[in-house]
């Protein structure tokens, strides 16, 4: 029963790999640079005795990334979980990017997850598996920064809804985690307005819920009332908020 992690080189993706390996799950780890995931695979094989494979792939440059994922799965147990903690953001994503840079952000944050879900759907339906998508609290309402990133992450929310509308939970579980701050390189050194969760803690909660229905949740859960309020702020109030 293989779990596939797209974006497994660091942060939440690597923590998910460690957590799943500790539960003896065979893994296919995908990241832009093969050496990063190869090192993690070697470590997990040695520490946990699992089958772990590495696939290096430039998600921004692949027209059909799912084809290579499917090829890499050959000989492994059936895929039952597809986790997509992949994401890239830029500080200058504030309407100052050119079209090429916007395309790259959309490719990694939206096109690649969508295309990989499409390509692996038959296998996941056959195993009655789980798709795990990761949105962001930063994408709950549009802001003057993280423009393309948030648009892509909102697209994932739509993708999760589409999957849930199309397939019943007993056919395919679809889980969408809206992530708050995590202590990763993305937030390294930032003065955050709210506490950040360790990737290991986030990974444990995600893996605990794998196979337990379809849902959209906030991680940590205390983000839910905050986002609830933010979404209901009158526009004239919201547009004055800068962070």
């Amino acid at each position: 029963m293989t779990a596939i992690i797209i974006g497994a080189s660091s942060g939440l993706g690597r923590a998910l790999a460690v957590e799943l390996a500790s539960r003896k799950q065979p893994l296919l780890l995908v990241a832009s640079e093969r050496r990063d995931v190869e090192a993690t695979c070697a470590d997990l094989r040695l520490r946990h005795g699992i089958d772990a494979r590495a696939l290096g792939m430039d998600l921004a440059g692949e027209a059909d990334p799912s084809a290579r994922v499917l090829a890499a799965l050959e000989g492994m147990p059936p895929a039952t979980s597809l986790l997509l903690p992949v994401g890239v953001s830029r500080r200058d994503d504030d309407f100052s990017l050119d079209a090429g840079a916007i395309g790259q952000l959309l490719a990694v944050n939206l096109h690649a997850p969508l295309a990989i879900v499409h390509g692996l759907l038959p296998a996941l339906l056959e195993s009655k598996g789980t798709v795990v998508l990761f949105g962001s609290v930063a994408a709950q309402r549009g802001r003057g920064r993280n423009v393309a990133y948030a648009a892509a992450k909102r697209g994932l929310t739509s993708l999760a809804e589409s999957l849930r509308q199309r397939y019943r939970t007993r056919e395919l579980r679809v889980q969408l985690w809206q992530l708050g701050f995590l202590r990763t390189n993305l937030t390294h050194g930032m003065k955050l307005p709210l506490p950040a969760l360790a990737p290991e803690d986030a990974a444990r909660r995600v893996v605990d819920r794998l196979g337990k229905g379809s849902f959209e949740r906030y991680l940590p859960s205390w983000w839910w009332p905050i986002i609830f309020l933010i979404k209901r702020l009158p526009w004239f109030v919201y547009r004055r908020m800068k962070d």
Binding site: E33, R35, T40, D43, R47, N185, G189
Partner: protein
């Protein structure tokens, strides 16, 4: 926080050395992918940082960006037939030993602090529980992968780039960032039988140490109070032929320890602790100790280190040649009886290696002396007098331990220091690798 377009972030963080003698606001990069090892701008001073557990500020300070290697902590390959482990430099020594022991192997040279990183062990060329038998960490390293700024990865070994390989041990990061290493292992014993041999003074301790030179575990603890100086016990560990059930498993000692609000190691505290330890330890006997507990005795010393309070401590460690040790022990006893410093602990070890480069080695006895509140004038005066006494008797300092050593003292103690410095800097001609340690001793 600053963030560059090259994909790395810097955190502004307050860092403190383990002995609490130096603290600084430092910029810390935390690469979590190989690509980010080369992300720092050219010409920017930097220093690799393992777990930050060293007594001295070897991984931060002096305007350098600390390159935190803690995410590079993976096991890359293990050969259970030949006894070889390829491991990333940020892996912590206790985690590595735990994995190895489960496979029936272990690395015989490990420092007392379980959080020390593999890269740190190489960069300081640390010693273990019996350096006279097992030598230094360098004895157990087959090859190292370095990251050279502007050049990329380089494998060094006795056969490839041998000069840089040799200089990397006790090179304090100057020869390049240590990324991974291939370690040579030995079969792990089931446990140790540790025999206690009480000694009346340091001279007697030296005799016991020399007689037991070839055992896997060998070190002494000594009372350092005036009038009792040198009294103690030598712990002689032999391989046990049956496993021992571990009692309460202590958590690993963290890299930094929150100090107590008051200094516990005042004269009363030291007196009480020494009396209790003397009563418990200073009598013949033996006990069976699990391998991991024997390798990392500092796990039981969390309260001890916290007890130094905000003033912290200094560990002065000097290695005095065998031929001069009796005279040194006598002079040191006299110095302690006269100046009456507060010393919370003295530990002794036997060495039998060559003092090459800046490594802490030689043929002799090493004493590690814990001095609380070293900023106090009387305590500092004792440390200065200790250094003078040790140098007078041919002593060699452990640069990774004592943070009060100044450049001139180091040069008097290590006569070829300048030549070694020039050699090390030839690998870092721009002088990019900087830290409080390199500033203080003018490395």
């Amino acid at each position: 926080m600053t963030k560059s377009a090259r994909g790395y972030a810097l955190a502004e963080t307050r860092l403190t050395s383990f002995d609490r003698q130096f603290a600084a606001d430092a910029r810390v990069q935390q690469p979590d992918r190989y690509r980010l090892l080369g992300a720092l701008p050219e010409h920017q001073p930097y220093v690799p940082r393992g777990s930050g557990a060293s007594y001295v500020a070897a991984s931060f300070g002096n305007g350098a960006t600390s390159q935190d290697m803690s995410q590079f902590n993976r096991l890359l390959a293990f050969d259970g037939e030949r006894g070889l482990l390829h491991v990333e430099a940020g892996a912590r020594i206790a985690d590595v030993e735990r994995f190895l022991i489960a496979q029936g192997w272990y690395l015989p040279v490990a420092p007392g602090h379980p959080a020390a990183s593999i890269g740190g062990c190489i960069a300081a060329d640390v010693h273990g529980k019996n350096p006279a038998r097992d030598g230094r960490f360098s004895n157990w390293v087959e090859a190292i992968e370095l990251w050279l700024p502007g050049q990329g990865a380089l494998i060094v070994s006795p056969d490839e780039h041998a000069d840089r390989y040799a200089a990397t041990f006790a090179g304090f990061g100057l020869t390049g960032t240590i990324v991974s290493a291939v370690l040579r292992l030995v079969r792990a014993p089931d446990a140790f039988v540790v025999r206690r041999v009480p000694v009346k003074n340091l001279d007697e301790a030296a005799q016991v140490l020399r007689e037991a030179a070839n055992v896997p575990l060998l070190y002494g603890w000594h009372d350092a109070r005036p009038g009792h100086f040198g009294r103690g016990v030598i712990r002689v560990g032999l391989e046990a032929d049956a496993p021992v059930k571990r009692g309460r498993v202590l958590p690993d000692l963290p890299a930094s320890i929150e100090p107590t609000s008051i200094q516990r190691w005042n004269r009363l505290g030291i007196s009480a602790a020494n009396a209790w330890l003397g009563y418990r330890w200073c009598r013949p006997g033996e006990s069976r100790v699990a391998l991991l507990d024997a390798m990392f005795p500092l796990n039981g010393a969390r309260n001890y280190f916290a007890g130094f309070g905000k003033d912290g401590m200094v560990e002065a460690q000097w290695l005095v040649p065998n031929t001069r040790f009796t005279a040194f022990a006598s002079a040191l006893t006299e110095l302690v009886n006269k100046s009456k410093p507060r010393i919370s602990l003295v530990a002794s070890k036997l060495f039998a290696g060559e003092a090459d480069g800046l490594a802490f080695d030689g043929h002799g006895i090493a004493l590690a002396i814990h001095v609380p509140s070293p900023a106090q004038s009387s305590q500092r005066a004792f440390l200065d007098a200790l250094a003078a006494c040790a140098i007078e008797h041919g002593g060699r300092p452990n640069l990774i331990k004592e943070s009060t050593l100044q450049a001139d003292t180091v040069r008097r103690a290590i006569p070829d220091f300048e030549a070694v410095r020039e050699h090390l800097r030839s690998f870092d001609s721009e002088g990019r690798v900087q830290s409080e340690l390199t500033r203080r001793i003018h490395l």
